[in-house]
């Protein structure tokens, strides 16, 4: 896949929940090796867009093409997803959690689970169950889980919420490093300032539509 070929193409994407349209005809192309920050008020459609890209939500109409495939299942092993909840079992340690999820991706080598835990600044030997982690530690372990399968595309929903400023900065540095390795990263966040200087593009959403794409944090004209 060349740099000019989009890794993700979204065309006229509509997602309705009953009579409420969370996405109202989103059309966009996203390229490899970029870090995209998706911004917007609550209810703008950011999480719905991310969940649709992650194959967790089926579009009402429109099309999503990821890495050339129209079926998410065909490329799911190349995508990492981090949601607002941790997607981890509270009763197990971080390493136990990752060892289990590694099996889902066919990763038999358990030593590979330690690498992402170290990368997010946590100790893989920590025996404490995840339920006893601080919220910030849980967020970082959740990011480690998303990085586990060495994905080409990372979809992150609010990765910095409840994370202290130093840890958040560390996470941003890790994301920038990951982007520099040729991965494409999407970050839905309300803390856009953290990504200033790291994000390649800011995607502004409002009322279920992309209303602007900027290279800095200055909102496009006409947005709230």
């Amino acid at each position: 896949m060349t740099e000019t070929t989009p890794v993700i193409t979204v065309s006229n994407l509509i997602k309705q929940f009953g009579r409420f349209a969370a996405l109202r005809g989103v059309t966009a192309e996203f390229y490899t090796g970029k870090l995209y920050a998706i911004l917007g008020d609550n209810g703008a459609g950011k999480t719905t867009l991310l969940r649709t890209l992650a194959g967790l939500s089926q579009p009402t109409s429109g099309q999503v093409t990821i890495l050339g495939a129209q079926k998410f299942r065909d490329v799911c092993h190349l995508v990492g997803y981090m949601a607002h909840p941790s997607l981890l079992y509270d009763e197990m340690s971080g390493l136990e959690n990752l060892a289990y999820f590694a099996r889902l991706y066919g990763i038999a080598d358990s030593t590979r689970c330690s690498e992402p835990i170290r990368a997010v600044g946590l100790d893989p030997d920590l025996k404490r169950p995840v339920g006893q982690y601080s919220q910030g530690m849980r967020q970082r372990m959740s990011l480690a889980r998303a990085l586990l399968n060495d994905p080409k595309i990372l979809l992150l929903d609010e990765p910095f919420s409840n994370v202290d400023i130093h840890s958040a900065s560390d996470m941003v540095r890790l994301l920038a490093k990951t982007r520099d390795q040729g991965k494409t990263i999407f970050v839905v966040t309300h803390q856009a300032a953290l990504l200033e200087g790291a994000a390649d593009e800011f995607i502004w959403m409002q009322d279920g539509l992309i209303v602007g794409r900027t290279s800095d944090l200055k909102p496009p004209e006409g947005t709230n």
Binding site: G55, L56, H77, P85, E91, M92, Y105, G106
Partner: protein, 225 residues
């Protein structure tokens, strides 16, 4: 593509490990069925012959109700922190998850039966007059029938608001043929009154049909929003 058997094994061990640490399901099931045994034994005072006639019904109804507790727990664990979404975005096949959940529930309910059956025998002064070994296939096939459907319907009711109520509402009506087979087979074996073969074959057929149907439909249930 990861091997389904490896994922089933990993998920099964993960579930058993979580259950070992929390003991949520097994404790609730044990206390519930213990209560049923004790309350029924106080409510009825049957002689040995009457016991043989009604014990099949009592035992299986108690196990059915107790199993619902475990079946609800199975998926509740996956809902906390939305862990199920992590499974849905992975390349792991849906049926590997379903099989692991069924096996885990089968193990727990069988463990419950192994612990509670001797108590039933003592409280109701039971002794099989027919071929007692036939109770083993009845128990295995009957338990499988309960957990395979129960696991499927528990997954189906996962996203409903009152899923604890939904599960029995969905599971009990569809389990009637299986429960009837279990009760009749158990009654026949305990009383030595005829042959249980017909009911065992019916139970086996029920298991094959519903296991196939559940496996065929589970991916749709898992991926439903």
């Amino acid at each position: 593509m990861p091997a389904p058997t490896g994922i089933t094994r990993a998920t099964l061990f993960k579930d058993l490990r979580l259950e070992w640490r929390s003991k949520d399901a097994i404790n609730s099931m044990l206390f519930f069925s213990l209560l049923v045994v004790v309350i029924f034994s106080f409510s009825f005072d049957p002689n040995a012959e009457e016991s043989r006639q009604i014990a099949g019904g009592l035992i299986w109804v108690a196990f059915l109700f107790a199993a619902v507790v475990a079946l609800n727990q199975t998926w509740a664990r996956e809902l906390r922190n939305q862990v199920l979404d992590a499974y849905r975005v992975s390349p792991a096949p849906a049926n590997a998850l379903f099989t692991a959940k069924v096996l885990g529930n089968f193990f727990l309910v069988s463990l419950l039966e192994a612990l509670m059956a001797p108590l039933f025998m003592i409280f109701y002064n039971l002794r099989a007059l027919g071929p007692a070994w036939q109770l083993i296939p009845v128990a295995l096939l009957g338990t499988w029938a309960l957990v395979v459907n129960g696991t499927f319907f528990a997954a189906m009711s996962l996203r409903t608001r009152s899923r604890e109520i939904m599960l029995p509402l969905l599971l009990f009506p569809i389990s009637i043929p299986a429960v009837q087979s279990m009760v009749e087979a158990t009654r026949i074996i305990l009383s030595g009154d005829g042959a249980a073969r017909f009911w065992i074959v019916l139970l086996l057929t029920y298991d094959v049909v519903f296991t196939t149907a559940c496996l065929a439909l589970f991916e749709t249930v898992l991926q439903a929003e």
